[in-house]
């Protein structure tokens, strides 16, 4: 398939992954800018929005896949080819939006300057550090953008518009003289979330009045028409649950990225004269990153947070311990306690465990097993599902726009031409499209990645379709030998894995070439027995 013609003025959008064919994984979008500057000189630019991974669940040939970096980025040590992008723009810090960055670097690619909000920047740095990418010549430039700020890059004005999802989450307005695209990233509306800036309906209405030609739109929960709970309502329900467990130890299991839920738990703790105690590497990493980015959980809660190591003298009924494990992932705090591993947090007959996160299908079986083991130890377990049955109400809400949010966004933006639903299961994509239709908007539903859509003031049209190879990544079993870490020794608890990279076709089904662009740094054999020992 030949390259699409991108010569006429306008904005060209291409979904590389993260479209219908991929559900919500591997998000990556290419925007080509063809415009003119104030003197009438032609300007061409290229922007890449997000570069995430798609997780392969169930022991297939690959652990994850992501869009091939071959046509996106330049190789390190080689001159920039004509197609090198001007910038990589990140909407937020989830792995399905930035998890492929470290892989591209390990494959020998040089990433363009990254622009993102401060919290996302902190987690990009942690992602590279966690992958052992610490040498200055392998790291990209990272430019922190203030929420709401507009930057000029690649011939376009790009505005980072705060949305409610996690700290620093942003939609992007990409605007030129010829066209304007609103790329939602992951979003919802919840004015009661505590951390970061809130989605501002008035700002969105103003952006709409300035003119939006196309909305590229998150569909994850667009088909959900049930009433939603705000984070403030969830905090109130958690407060009631904790009050009812007076005299008992209370442990909550969350995900490391659910910082607003941690604030809600902290407020529930404070209201019940308990101190919030946190435990678990990813939780501590994320809270520290939030502090660095100016999102203080302690300020949001109005009380200090203790690390578990500093809370040993605290009576169990005066603490609310928040740890990891809401998805029953191995090595998380709740999982380790359920398995009664040495060094794990004690959970027993006098403990109430709260899990304010619904179990999702890929983890349902592991979650069920973990809850059974916790109960076998004598603990009382209140899952998100049980909390509703017990009359407390919902203690979890999706981080994505439900139907009402989706309607609100389109009503505020009033896009001139089309809405393109992406990032969702097929039923959710259709539901998103139906909402657009109900508002008199034209949905552009793309069944596959690779279509090139040209947008300008007169409309949006598909001008071509390109084959886009992707990369299947599989852990080799070897680990990176980090500079001056103890040689051949597993003291570091999670040394970064080395992956094999295979080039796959655009559907991710056919192997095109094996073992491309492998990591060539120092390696060592794993020491699983030591690495998996109790802390």
């Amino acid at each position: 398939m030949s390259a699409a013609d991108r010569s006429q003025a306008g904005i060209y959008w291409q979904s590389r992954m993260g479209n219908n064919a991929d559900g919500i994984g591997g998000n990556c979008h290419r925007y080509d800018i063809v415009t003119a500057n104030g003197q009438g000189t032609p300007v061409r630019g290229r922007l890449v929005v997000d570069y995430g991974i798609k997780i392969h669940n169930g022991g297939g040939a690959y652990d994850c896949s992501f869009p091939s970096p071959e046509e996106l980025f330049a190789k390190r040590g080689q001159p920039d080819p004509a197609h090198a992008p001007n910038a990589l723009l990140l909407t937020h810090s989830h792995e399905d939006h930035l998890g492929a960055l470290k892989h591209a670097v390990d494959m020998g690619y040089r990433l363009p300057p990254i622009h993102c909000t401060p919290f996302t920047a902190e987690l990009v740095k942690k992602s590279f550090a966690g992958a052992g990418i610490i040498e200055p010549d392998r790291r990209p430039e990272i430019h922190a953008v203030k929420p709401g700020e507009t930057i000029e890059v690649g011939g376009a004005q790009v505005t980072f518009v705060p949305v409610d999802h996690l700290p620093g989450a942003s939609a992007l307005v990409i605007r030129t003289a010829e066209a304007a695209v609103f790329h939602t990233g992951d979003y919802k509306f919840d004015a009661t979330m505590a951390l970061g800036e809130r989605a501002d309906p008035e700002l969105l209405r103003t952006i709409g009045k300035q003119g939006i030609d196309m909305v590229v739109s998150d569909s994850t929960s667009a088909g959900d028409d049930r009433p939603k709970s705000t984070e403030r309502e969830i905090a109130g329900r958690l407060e009631r649950i904790v009050a009812d467990e007076k005299g008992r130890a209370v442990v909550a299991g969350v995900l490391g990225t659910q910082l607003d839920r941690v604030v809600s738990l902290g407020r529930a703790a404070k209201a019940n004269s308990r101190t919030l105690v946190i435990s678990g590497a990813s939780l501590v990493q994320n809270i520290q990153a939030a502090e660095r980015a100016g999102h203080s959980l302690e300020k949001a809660i109005g009380a200090p947070i203790l690390l578990a190591k500093d809370a040993r003298a605290l009576p169990a009924d005066k603490a609310l311990v928040v740890t990891t494990g809401a998805f029953a992932q191995p090595n998380a705090g709740l999982s380790r306690s359920a398995d009664q591993l040495a060094g794990a947090l004690y959970i027993g007959r006098d403990t109430t465990v709260i899990i304010p996160q619904r179990a999702i299908p890929p983890v349902a079986e592991a979650h069920r097993g973990m809850v059974q083991r916790l109960e076998a130890s004598g603990a009382r377990v209140i899952t998100a599902e049980r909390a509703e049955e017990m009359g407390y109400g919902a203690i979890h809400q999706s981080g994505h726009a439900i139907a009402a949010d989706t309607r609100l966004l389109y009503t505020l933006l009033k896009p001139r031409h089309v809405v393109s639903p992406i990032h969702g299961a097929p039923g959710q994509i259709e539901a998103n499209g139906e909402i657009a239709r109900s508002l008199g908007l034209k949905p552009l539903i793309l069944k596959e990645n690779g279509a090139v859509i040209r947008v300008d003031r007169s409309g949006a049209e598909i001008v071509g379709r390109e084959d886009l190879p992707r990369i299947g990544a599989k852990e080799t079993g070897d680990l990176k030998q980090l500079p001056r870490a103890r040689p051949g020794e597993g003291r570091r608890p999670n040394p970064p894995a080395i992956y094999r990279y295979d080039r796959l076709d655009s559907a991710g089904e056919t192997l095109l070439s094996r073992n491309v662009d492998a990591y060539h740094g120092p390696a060592r054999a794993p020491r699983p027995a030591r690495d998996q020992q109790a802390r």
Binding site: A129, V284, T324, Q329
Partner: protein, 95 residues
């Protein structure tokens, strides 16, 4: 004594290095976790972190100033050493 600059106690119980520089992210992270367990890593100001590293036995700045990325990587290694292994779920984005 083995290679210059490598840990001189391969048993792993007590960490000490002949020489540390800003490039030794993992070693610094582990050393800080051992020696400064009482510090609050959540709110540690960057200048205090720099001071803690420069005060580590055997540390030599070599005229270099750490950049923001290096400090962030050191904190990441410190938290890893303090809190234990990777406890993330690959499905966190589905929450």
């Amino acid at each position: 004594m083995g290679d210059p600059g490598m840990p001189n106690d391969p048993s792993g119980d007590t960490l000490s290095w002949d020489r540390l520089t800003w490039q030794d992210i993992q070693a610094i992270g582990m050393a800080l976790a051992e020696r400064h367990a009482a510090d609050n890593i959540l709110t540690l100001p960057p200048e205090r972190l720099v001071q803690l590293v420069e005060d580590l036995p055997g540390f030599t700045a070599g005229g270099r100033e750490p950049d923001d990325f290096t400090l962030s990587a050191i904190v990441t290694a410190w938290i890893d050493a303090q809190e234990g292994g990777d406890d993330r779920s690959p499905f966190e984005f589905l929450a």
